[in-house]
């Protein structure tokens, strides 16, 4: 089990890749429906609005499930009787339609008259759509008479553009195909309410719009899917993306088709490509996405214009060892069987040109729509095949299908490896020094010895279940040194064999001059191989030369982490803080610096200094005070500069204070100079 781990992992990845590349849209299988149902049941808890409840109910309905826990007929009736919002009325009536509710005319009389009057007062497409949709549902229960159906028809028609797209409101800037789908659905409801009021010209107009709508389809990719894209305008009216737009258009055409007689011209390949779009989108994602996919598929499954029929091949991966057979079915998108004759035009092996089977008419079981492809089974080997089918539906007109369908299938089986040839050869002469045929049954390990002057040789045959040569996608040889250093080598096909010849002289550098015992593992796998192998063939002791001067022999620890492991962590360190003096010492010296100041003051006292020169009265006192205050304030500013201010703030304030200081300074000093002038002269 463990030995298979690496090989199996590679195989699983390749298988996944191949399957996703060749995936073609299949109709919803029972498993898909079950999965979808589970997803929907999970999302039940999060729905709150009537619209979401209808989306859930409709999704369940398409999946063939009736669920009444969400909303009951009496709740629907309560909304219909009381609600004033046309949107709520519409979704309530849709819920009622899904649940097959029936109501009394007397209870809903006021609702009907309110809807009729709202129809007269609105010009918005969605409001008309909601009102008419509700009325069309109620009309099934009891008669509803529109006041002026033709004017409503004109109101809707006014919103249309030349190219067949529509506006939601008269003052909308752009138009969209999704709005046209809504308009068609509304017109369909209008015809169901008052069909007699419309002449042939109007019906022809509607059918023309319906068949024109499919011209808005855009190609998604080369896989043949097509869809209606959302326009910026749709974003303003609910949005929902291409899924919602495509679903709405299909619904609009289907509603018109169901309420008019005769045929609507729709190209079959476009209906098929839309069906493929919904099937490719599949059932997953949000409730809204699932609803649009299921709603679209539900309309495509049962409609009166064209029902797409999809050919499916099951299983798409066929196991020969499990003796499976191909079942080919022609069904509608939701899986209802459709009678058809199927011819296998040709079966070709992938990457080959010549078909090995031509023009086989398949046996069919008419009741189930299932066709058996038995003739092909004894011709299949493991690998991929392209099967080309021609489909002819017995009941023409209603159905649309691709006349030629190509499906890729994968056939898997058990491949066998009879033996592995292991040898040591002389590099120069090529003569065999040692050879052993390793037997996968006994798994007896080999022990080889080789120097750098020799070659290692490995060769093996792989046979498919039909005993033909089979070249797998992957065949590796792994050499693993005792120090857990691994080297992988690819076995390449040579003729009908897989071979690997290792010239050790050329490999010494790759092997890092690392002599010693290497274990040899063989890994073989393919997407079609049901038994991938990882066998330990044995060991080889390599005697390699010493590295030349200056080359460092890498050990496993040195090499492997460098290649794939995490890089060594880089740590950053702050510079350690400088050593500072103990606070007591610093504080002592702070006190000590005050001692000279004290000495200065004491000295002043001893010198008998006095303040006699300080002016005693008048303006000079003020000037002297201002002078000293100015000096003090500048020193205070310097202290602030040290503590918090920057140089520019300081200089600005200094200029101010300096000016303030100069005036009294000049005044007081000249006053003193004048006062002391005689003294100086006398001295």
């Amino acid at each position: 089990m463990d030995s298979c781990r690496n090989g199996c992992l590679i195989l699983a990845l390749v298988a996944l890749l191949c399957l996703s590349v060749s995936a073609s849209p299949n109709v919803l299988s029972e498993a898909d429906k079950k999965f979808g149902t589970e997803l929907l049941i999970k999302s039940e808890g999060s729905v709150s609005t009537l619209e979401e409840k209808y989306q859930l109910l409709r999704s369940f309905q398409v999946l063939g499930i009736r669920r009444e826990e969400l909303i009951t007929c009496s709740e629907v009736e309560a909304v219909l009787m009381s609600s004033t919002s046309v949107k709520d009325l519409f979704y309530a009536s849709k819920c009622g339609e899904t649940l097959l509710c029936s109501f009394q005319e007397s209870a809903l009389k006021t609702t009907v008259s309110r809807l009729l009057s709202s129809l007269d007062n609105t010009e918005a497409l969605l409001d008309i759509h909601f009102s008419l949709g509700t009325l069309a549902f109620l009309k099934v229960q009891f008669p509803v008479a529109l006041n002026d159906p033709v004017s409503i028809f004109q109101k809707i028609k006014v919103l249309s553009a030349e190219d067949g797209s529509w506006k939601y409101n008269p003052d909308d800037a752009g138009t969209s195909a999704k709005a046209a789908g809504t308009a068609l659905e509304t017109m369909g409801d209008l015809i169901s309410l008052a069909g007699q009021a419309f002449d042939d010209a109007k019906i022809r107009y509607l059918k023309g719009v319906a068949s024109k709508l499919f011209e808005f389809l855009e190609k998604y990719a080369d896989d043949g899917t097509q869809f209606i894209d959302e326009r910026p305008l749709d974003g303003l009216y609910g949005g929902g993306g291409p899924l919602a737009a495509t679903s709405q258009v299909v619904k609009g055409v289907a509603v018109v088709a169901s309420h008019t007689s005769g045929h609507i011209e729709v190209p079959a390949e476009r209906v098929i490509s839309v069906a493929k779009f919904f099937l490719t989108a599949g059932i997953h994602g949000s409730l809204l996405d699932m609803f649009h996919v299921l709603d679209g598929l539900g309309v495509l499954d049962k409609n009166r214009f064209l029902v797409p029929v999809i050919l499916s091949v099951r299983p798409s991966v066929l196991s020969l060892s499990a003796k499976e057979v191909f079942k080919i079915s022609t069904t509608t998108v939701l899986g209802s069987p459709v009678s058809a004759t199927i011819t296998l035009r040709k079966a070709v092996r992938a990457n080959e040109k010549e078909p090995f089977l031509l023009n086989q008419v398949l046996e069919s079981d008419e009741t189930k729509g299932v066709h058996n492809l038995n003739d092909i089974l004894n011709k299949l080997d493991i690998g991929s095949y392209d099967l080309t089918f021609k489909v002819k539906i017995l009941e023409e007109g209603r159905y649309a299908t691709e006349p030629i369908t190509i499906r890729r299938v994968l056939v898997t089986g058990v491949a066998s490896i009879p033996e592995v040839e292991v040898g040591v050869l002389d590099s120069d002469t090529g003569s065999t020094d040692y050879v052993k045929r390793w037997n996968p049954m006994s798994k007896e390990v080999v022990s080889l010895y080789a120097t750098h002057l020799q070659k290692l040789y490995f060769g093996l045959d792989i046979l498919s279940p039909r005993q033909e040569q089979f070249i797998p996608h992957q065949a590796f040889l792994k050499l693993k040194h005792e120090t857990k250093v691994e080297h992988l080598f690819l076995l390449k096909p040579s003729g009908k064999k897989l071979e690997l010849s290792l010239n050790l002289l050329g490999l010494v550098e790759k092997l890092n001059y690392l002599s010693g015992i290497y274990t040899i593992d063989l890994i073989v796998g393919d997407v079609a191989m049901e038994n991938p192998v990882m066998w330990n063939l044995g060991t080889v002791e390599l005697d390699l030369p010493e590295p030349p001067e200056g080359k460092v022999k890498l050990t496993s620890q040195a090499e492997s982490p460098f290649k794939y492991g995490p890089r060594p962590e880089i740590t950053h360190m702050f510079r350690p803080a400088e050593k500072r003096a103990p606070p007591t010492l610093s504080n002592t010296f702070l006190a000590l610096t005050l001692v000279p100041l004290l000495g200065f003051l004491v000295g002043l006292k001893l010198l008998n200094t006095n303040m006699k020169n300080f002016p005693s009265s008048g303006l000079p006192v003020l000037a002297a005070l201002l002078f000293h205050l100015g000096i003090g304030s500048i020193l205070g500013l310097y202290a602030l500069f040290w503590l918090k201010l920057n140089l520019f703030q300081t200089l600005k304030l200094l200029a101010l204070l300096g000016t303030v200081l100069t005036v009294p300074g000049y005044y007081i000093l000249s006053h003193l100079a004048d006062a002391s002038a005689p003294k100086v002269k006398s001295a």
Binding site: E578, F589, F600, T609, Y638, L669, A673, S676, V680, A683
Partner: protein, 114 residues
């Protein structure tokens, strides 16, 4: 030896008697210079004990003291009545210069203090 000691003693006493005659204003300036230099010496001693980090703070403090001492010496030269060179200069003008120079010096000191 005794003669030399006596000479030194005599020198000091003559210096002292000569200094007593110095005007009080000059004595105040001398006292101020002495005070500034003492503060500078204390800072040097502190640096010798603890180390020069942060060096800019030490330099600021030291140069503040030495700078103001030098400026005070300049002031003393200008106000000394015996110094004939600055005879034309009034005391007040010299003091104003001293104040201005000190303010500029300390602006630089504060900037350098960091």
């Amino acid at each position: 030896m005794a003669g030399a000691a006596g000479d030194v003693k005599a020198l000091f006493s003559s210096l002292k008697s000569a200094y007593v005659a110095t005007p009080t204003k000059l004595k105040i300036i001398d006292l101020y210079v002495f005070y500034a230099l003492c503060t500078a010496v204390i800072q040097v001693v502190y640096m010798a004990l603890v180390g020069s980090f942060p060096f800019n703070a030490f330099l600021s403090g030291f140069l503040s003291c030495v700078g103001t001492a030098v400026l005070a010496v300049c002031l003393r030269m200008q106000v000394n009545p015996k110094n004939k060179e600055f005879k034309e200069l009034s005391l007040e003008r010299a003091f104003a210069d001293f104040v201005l120079a000190n303010l500029v010096l300390h602006l630089v000191i504060m900037n350098f203090l960091g």
